[in-house]
């Protein structure tokens, strides 16, 4: 636990990296939403019916909007999918530099030249990991649904709140299974940063060797870093409704926007926090190319 908290100063030190990763996400989301804004605003700006949207998420307005512009929703979904693909590709590029910073332990100041050199050098390996993980996620999702269905039979007779708790329990099981896979993916990416010259199979083997004994602790660490974000996210949702419902007007909308962006930025910070913990833990057993030269030359033994 202390080890996890000790990583917080490192997150602060890597604030430029944090800002860059958040801005990339925000910018892409903004670019994707811009056409949506122009399209829907043309309908909403002149209509009194849309007023309720200023204070609450009145689904009836959204339904009118999409119900009558049937082509709008599929076009928007297609655009989001294309944007997600672009984002995934950029992230695979950046992963090289990010995991280099995390596993090397050097955060301040980040040598950006070195950072982007690593991005380019490890790009293909990170793409390979992503493709492999896509497959793993699909398989795990189906098998976790199977596990959940076994629980489902047990809880078939539950009603009311108990049934709701059972449903949340099922979702938690799926979440934990997928989370463990995500932590393995991080381990593989950390291995790429430490041993970029190894063949892909070796990378996966090293990642497994690291992941297997510590996966419970790593998953636990992820949850510990995720909880503050989750609480903040819930708080943001509550405050955002207060901002638009009670303050209202453009000020309320602006405040809500800031709160949303705060939550988005904190989510990026959360991942960075967890990775700093994983990085220092990984380094204990897998120093790879970050082994100090003196130890490599066996100077301390002389």
């Amino acid at each position: 636990m202390l080890d996890i908290i000790r990583q917080l100063p490192r997150v602060r030190e890597a604030r430029k990296l944090w800002l860059m990763l958040y801005l990339l996400k925000a910018l892409l989301a903004f670019l994707l939403v811009l056409p949506f804004l122009f399209t829907v605003n043309a309908d909403l700006a002149r209509s009194a019916f849309a007023k309720t949207l200023m204070t609450g998420w009145d689904i009836s307005v959204i339904l009118e909007l999409f119900g009558n512009a049937g082509e709008l929703l599929p076009a928007f979904i297609l655009m989001i999918l294309a944007g997600t693909l672009v984002y995934m590709t950029i992230i695979q590029f950046l992963n090289g530099g990010v995991y280099y910073v995390i596993v090397s332990g050097h955060t301040s100041p980040i040598n950006w030249r070195e950072f982007f050199a690593e991005c380019g050098a490890c790009f293909l390996l990170h793409v390979k990991i992503t493709l492999l993980m896509l497959l793993v996620y699909i398989l795990l999702f189906s098998s976790s649904m199977f596990v959940v269905s076994l629980f489902g039979a047990t809880g078939q007779n539950l009603m009311g709140t108990a049934a709701l708790i059972m449903l949340l329990g099922k979702l938690l099981i799926v979440f934990l299974i997928l989370l463990a896979a995500s932590v393995f993916s991080d381990s593989a990416r950390a291995t790429v940063a430490a041993y970029p010259d190894r063949p892909f199979r070796e990378i996966l083997k090293t990642a497994s060797t690291y992941f297997k004994p510590g996966f419970a602790a790593l998953t636990g660490a992820y949850i510990i870093t995720y909880l503050p974000f989750f609480i903040l996210w819930a708080l943001v949702e509550w405050l955002a409704l207060k901002a638009t419902g009670e303050i209202g007007g453009l000020v309320g909308i602006f405040l809500e926007f800031i709160l949303f962006q705060l939550a988005a930025a904190v989510r990026t910070g959360q991942k960075l926090w967890f990775l700093f913990y994983l990085g220092q833990d990984f380094r204990k057993t897998n120093q790879g190319r970050f082994l100090p030269k003196q130890i490599e030359l066996n100077l301390d033994a002389r």
Partner: protein
């Protein structure tokens, strides 16, 4: 026993009142075989004295579940999958038939759900007695005929007559996918033997229950009704409520106890509201049974309602209460006022769904919170508008069930668009005429099968020709209806403002529609537009420029497909668009975080 019969006759006379219609009695003696999952029995029916009848036609509803290619199962993939995986199909066979005691089995023909009986002699069948010996196979997890574990739901479980027309011919409905049972109003004299220990839910309490060894034989007298459903389980617990002269009963399993308060609140409030608004329920007794069937939702029978057991998701909204309210309203518009659900399904489901929305608003307000979660809100009316706008939801309302290809289209047109069309009609009637119309509709048609013509004729009688014309348009016009206001201009002329705007519409609904002009000095000018053309440019002068113009400000025309274009603002307000986009941007960022990890 005599006193019982007398009480029964008196109660029938009381129920039917001065509008009493001659109804026949159907006698059924049967036994439920829980080992073979079947009902075996005999149905006895004395054919009426008039009109002249040469043949007899009857219905074998369980044949809807007899094989994979039945018209009913074709668009019920969920049901079909279950039957195919379990290989347990339903069905009904006629083992033998007697006419006045003579074996006439070879004279019976059966095709799908239609049974026919052609006597050997050419004599009339009037006054003669038909006995049909039948076996009904109960499918595992069906919809209206179903068993699961030791629970049974029996509907259409014995052969019953087709509908006799005035000219002596029979109407035997085609049960396609979206059709529900259409039976004649009859008195039922039912004897059924079930394993002792079964708790039986029926529309009336049993007159007797004789235990004979391992079975108990119950006898029921019920009617006039056009169906007789039963549900049973050895595990039922029973709760009841007395509402004036009526009794509401709830049959549930122990694990369903937590949902009971929601069911009771919705059922009792609806029952009281409907009694007060459209007229007393004729049966005065209503049972709710929680049954494990293959479908989510409920099924209505006269005096009895089958409900599914809700699971976690339903607890986050009032969706379950919506089902309870809907099925309760069927006790008026289905059980008392029957219709042909095959040829004119809107008279059943559209009317019921219109009242469902109305009861929901009455119970929980205009924003009735069908869904109200984390700032997201959806009312029952929003839900109707959402489901009415699916691609298959367009088109004419007054049409047979078979003309709608899928269940989704049927739901969209008949349940949702139909409810909105009737809301429009009801809005046109106004509060005072609405009360008169619906009370008269129920009073005049209790224990009758109404037709669209009956509905339209009564509308004309009560409301006059304009609303009658509008109703015909709502029922028969396939073109989508949309009112729009656009191109608002304010020009200063001397000391007054000249306000110009364009009103337009699609669809053929030819009624005067109100519109409001809200001025910058906060005055509201109220006008009506009687559209002679599809679009009209209107110019008026006012002491202050217009800030906003709204056509149909009180949503009189509920079928208007787009409410966003019903108003126009002089000064554009980008705030709703900005807020929606800000929320969507956060959603996209969250999605990117999930897939990209950051």
């Amino acid at each position: 026993m005599m006193s019982c019969k007398l009480a029964f006759i008196l109660s029938v006379l009381f129920l039917t009142g001065i509008t009493a219609v001659a109804v026949d009695t159907l006698h059924v003696t049967a036994e439920l075989d829980t080992l073979r999952k079947q009902v075996v029995g005999v149905m006895t029916y004395r054919l009426p004295d008039t009109p002249e009848i040469a043949t007899f036609e009857f219905q074998l509803v369980p044949n809807m579940y007899a094989e994979r290619n039945t018209p009913y199962l074709k668009s019920k993939p969920q049901l079909l999958n279950i039957f195919e995986s379990t290989n347990e199909w339903g069905g009904m066979t006629i083992d033998s038939a007697l006419l006045d005691g003579d074996n006439s089995t070879e004279r019976v023909t059966v095709e799908y759900t239609k049974g026919g009986f052609q006597p050997q002699d050419k004599n009339r069948l009037n006054g003669r007695t038909v006995r049909l010996y039948f076996t009904t196979r109960i499918p595992r997890l069906g919809d209206r005929l179903s068993y699961f574990g030791e629970d049974y739901l029996l509907d259409g479980w014995f052969p019953f007559p087709a509908l006799l027309r005035d000219d002596g011919s029979w109407y035997n409905p085609d049960y396609n996918a979206n059709a529900e049972l259409v039976g004649p109003f009859m008195h039922y004299d039912i004897h059924i033997a079930v394993p002792s220990g079964m708790i039986v839910a029926a529309p009336v309490p049993p007159e007797s229950g004789d235990k004979q060894g391992e079975t108990t034989c119950y006898r029921y007298h019920f009617g006039p009704a056009h169906d007789f459903g039963l549900a049973m389980s050895p595990y039922y617990l029973i709760d009841s409520t007395r509402l004036g002269n009526a009794t509401l009963l709830y049959y549930y399993h122990a694990e369903e106890q937590p949902i009971l308060p929601e069911i009771k609140t919705a059922a009792e409030s609806t029952y009281v509201y409907m009694n007060k608004t459209v007229g007393e329920n004729a049966y005065g007794r209503l049972g709710f049974v929680l049954t494990p069937t293959a479908i989510g939702g409920g099924i209505e029978f006269p005096g009895l309602i089958s409900l599914y057991s809700p699971r976690g998701g339903a607890m986050l909204s009032r969706m379950y209460e919506l089902v309870v309210v809907h099925e309760t309203i069927h006790q008026w518009f289905y059980a008392m006022v029957a219709s042909d659900q095959v040829r004119e399904p809107w008279l059943d489901e559209s009317v019921t769904n219109f009242w469902t929305d109305r009861v929901f608003s009455h119970l929980w307000g205009e924003e009735d919170g069908l869904l109200d979660l984390a700032g997201l809100s959806l009312s029952s009316r929003d839900y109707l508008r959402l489901t009415a706008q699916t691609p298959g939801g367009a088109g004419r309302l007054n049409r047979p069930a078979e003309s709608l290809v899928s269940s989704a289209d049927f739901f969209s047109v008949i349940y949702s668009h139909g409810a909105l069309a009737l809301e429009t009609f009801d809005n046109l009637l106004g509060d005072s005429l609405s009360g008169i119309f619906w009370r008269e509709y129920v009073a005049r048609n209790t224990f009758r099968h109404v037709t669209a013509d009956d509905f339209v004729t009564l509308a004309e009688e009560i409301s006059g020709s304009d609303i009658h014309k509008a109703l015909l348009c709502l029922l028969n016009d396939a073109e989508a209806l949309d009112y729009r206001v656009t191109e608002l201009t304010n020009t200063r002329v001397d000391s007054v403002a000249e306000i110009g705007f364009t009103l337009s519409r699609t669809g053929k609904l030819d009624i005067a529609i109100p519109y409001w002009i809200i001025l910058y000095n906060n005055d509201t000018l109220r006008y009506e537009w009687k559209p002679e053309y599809r679009a009209e440019r209107i110019t008026i002068t006012a002491p202050s420029p217009a800030r906003e113009i709204i056509i149909d400000p009180e949503h009189l025309v509920a079928v208007d497909i787009d409410l966003i274009n019903n108003s126009v603002l002089a000064a554009a307000d980008n705030r709703p668009g900005l807020r929606l986009s800000s929320g969507v941007m956060f959603l996209v960022e969250s999605l990117l975080s999930v897939v990209g990890g950051w």
